[in-house]
């Protein structure tokens, strides 16, 4: 058997029966393109979200929320757990009135410690961050986000300027690193940071910090570390077994997991959609094959007369249909990439084409070909040459 010749013959027939080849391949092109574009965008958006999550959380971080959380709790955790590298409380003041030279607006104000640049992963790009001294003195100083700085001060530097927060004057000492929109849709570049002691004493009147972030040494162990922290909290807050916790703890792993889960749903949906299209493709191809079989009866009879075995006839049919669908798969990958990059540009989500999804695309194209070719191939192989040539 001369495989090279058989393949060359199949490709020639494919190119000479353009319309038939086109109809057989079209559904596969659409199915594979759906698969490729879908995966490219879903992987891209997952990576984008994970990047943002990591930017906000950082790997190996644990968040505690509690209306009765105080610095003593955090110091106890730091002392009892060796793996704590650093920690920093955060006091959320919410939206407060901001005023500069008579222009009024609102902004989200947070109280932070001098370690927030590392622990909350947000440094200044201009000016200076808080110092221990600022916290001890409860200094009336502030750091502001880039977009807020732009709205209030335009192109002039805000550093050294004085703004009113809740009618209390604060002097701006730095500009916060831009981080963009968070997963909740809030623009974090409109934030204002003040020393947490100032926030608790001058802007509010409380002993509770409300939330804190703790950085641990091994990011693989955050879930176990979080459990130990919960134990310490229960002990300190006198929560007995069976009683509900008065705090909530989230880890970077938890956040990653919820993003991944949301994406999995999307992935499954896309897979099902592409699967349905490919199934339809198989049905279409199978029926086209059976229709052209009728036209090709004489050809099959002739091939048998000149020495093709049943096996060779069915192999030829499978090769023909699989090479059409493989070529359609390649075209589908091209189309999928084109569609993904078009959508990606319009909705500002990066696209990621993995080798995995290309292999998946090609493999599903070939599988569709072989599956839809089996019935016609068997029918062709079983044909009686005497009948076929009559």
């Amino acid at each position: 058997m001369n495989w090279k010749l058989l393949l060359a013959g199949s490709f020639k027939l494919m190119s000479r029966y353009k319309l038939r080849t086109f109809f057989m391949g079209f559904a596969v092109v659409v199915g594979v393109a759906t698969l490729i574009a879908g995966r490219a965008l879903s992987t891209g958006s997952e990576q984008q979200i994970m990047q943002r999550v990591n930017q906000m959380f950082g790997p190996g971080t644990i968040l505690i929320f509690s209306s009765t959380l105080n610095n003593a709790d955090l110091e106890a955790i730091d002392q009892q757990l060796e793996q704590v590298i650093s920690w920093s409380p955060r006091f959320t003041l919410g939206e407060l009135d901001i005023s500069y030279q008579g222009a009024d607006r609102q902004a989200a104000v947070y109280g932070h410690s001098e370690r927030a640049d590392f622990v909350w992963n947000r440094d200044v790009i201009d000016g200076r961050f808080f110092t221990n001294d600022d916290l001890v003195r409860s200094a009336r100083i502030a750091l502001i986000g880039t977009r807020l700085a732009e709205t209030l001060f335009g192109s002039t530097s805000p550093i050294g300027e004085e703004i009113l927060i809740d009618a209390i004057p604060f002097s701006i000492v730095g500009i916060l690193e831009p981080v963009g929109i968070d997963p909740h849709g809030e623009d974090r570049d409109e934030d204002i940071y003040v020393p947490i002691t100032t926030a608790m004493r001058r802007l509010s009147n409380t002993d509770y910090v409300g939330s804190a972030k703790i950085v641990v040494s091994n990011h693989q162990m955050v879930d176990q570390d979080a459990e130990q922290i919960a134990e310490i909290m229960r002990e300190r807050h006198l929560i007995v077994a069976g009683e509900a916790d008065d705090f909530a703890i989230y880890t970077s792993k938890f956040a990653g997991r919820s993003v991944a889960r949301a994406n999995q749903v999307l992935d499954v949906y896309l897979m099902v959609a592409a699967g349905v299209v490919l199934l339809l493709a198989a049905v279409v191809i199978s029926s086209i094959m059976l229709v052209i079989m009728r036209e090709r009866i004489a050809e099959i009879g002739l091939r048998k007369a000149i020495g093709a075995t049943q096996l060779q006839i069915s192999q030829q049919f499978l090769i023909e249909v699989a090479s059409v669908t493989l070529a359609a798969g390649v075209a589908g990958i091209g189309l999928g990439i084109a569609v993904a990059s078009l959508i990606s540009k319009n909705i500002d989500v990066p696209m990621v084409i993995s080798a995995q999804s290309i292999i998946l695309g090609l493999a599903s194209a070939v599988v569709v070909g072989v599956v839809s070719g089996i019935a016609p191939a068997r029918k062709a192989a079983a044909l009686d040459p005497v009948e076929a040539l009559r």
Partner: protein, 222 residues
């Protein structure tokens, strides 16, 4: 070369009497012969040719081809033997429509271990006088030319025997005669040829004529 002993073939027809097409046919063909098979329409010529060409099996009787017992061969062996030792020519040519003359002639080589397939195909087309039509499609050729492409396809694997079922049946007299001239030439060069015909004038050109009548084979004087 070919020995048929008491070959019978019956077609069962639903709702009708079974049709005994061949009733114990004895038939020998020697290497280098040029035999015409004649007989009225429906007399079983094609049925006999299908059995000779290993496309069909007789119900009973014995067939030896080149010393081998055909009834003992598997379907795959039959296919291989057809490819290597038999060349077919049909009344309807049976060329693949969107395939050039050369590619059509190359076709049997797909199922063999032959090398230089294009060269062999071109050589065969030269032997039938179509060296000017190598890349023509069947639709661009006359009936006689198409049949000569089919003969080139039958020749390309150097078969021991060429079986032609009414090769001139679809041709006008002139191209029919050209095909016969080609067969005569191939036979002079050593090919063993068996052909079926209706046409007495065509049959008369063979070195031997046999007649099928009522399921039996009789030698016809020539």
């Amino acid at each position: 070369m070919i020995q048929l002993r008491k070959i019978s073939k019956t077609f069962e027809r639903p709702g009708e009497r079974a049709l005994h097409v061949l009733k114990g046919v004895d038939f020998n063909v020697e290497q280098g012969e040029f035999v015409a098979i004649v007989g009225p329409s429906g007399s079983g010529k094609t049925t006999l040719m299908n059995i000779l060409g290993l496309l069909d099996r007789p119900d009973s009787g014995d067939y030896q081809l080149l010393g081998s017992q055909v009834s003992a061969m598997s379907a795959t062996e039959l296919a291989k033997t057809r490819n290597a030792t038999i060349g077919f020519v049909f009344q309807q040519f049976h060329l693949l429509p969107r395939v050039t003359a050369t590619e059509n002639v190359e076709l049997p080589l797909v199922y063999s271990d032959a090398r230089d397939t294009v060269k062999k195909a071109v050589n065969a087309l030269c032997r039938v006088g179509l060296e000017e039509r190598l890349s023509h499609f069947p639709s661009e050729l006359s009936g006689g030319q198409q049949q000569r492409v089919a003969i080139a396809r039958a020749l390309v694997n150097d078969p021991e025997v060429i079986l032609a079922d009414e090769p001139t049946g679809n041709l006008d007299q002139e191209s029919g005669q050209q095909v016969m001239d080609l067969f005569l030439e191939l036979n002079r060069a050593g090919s063993t040829i068996l052909f079926i015909t209706h046409d007495q004038k065509i049959a008369d050109q063979a070195s031997r004529v046999v007649r099928i009548d009522n399921g039996c084979l009789t030698a016809s004087l020539n």
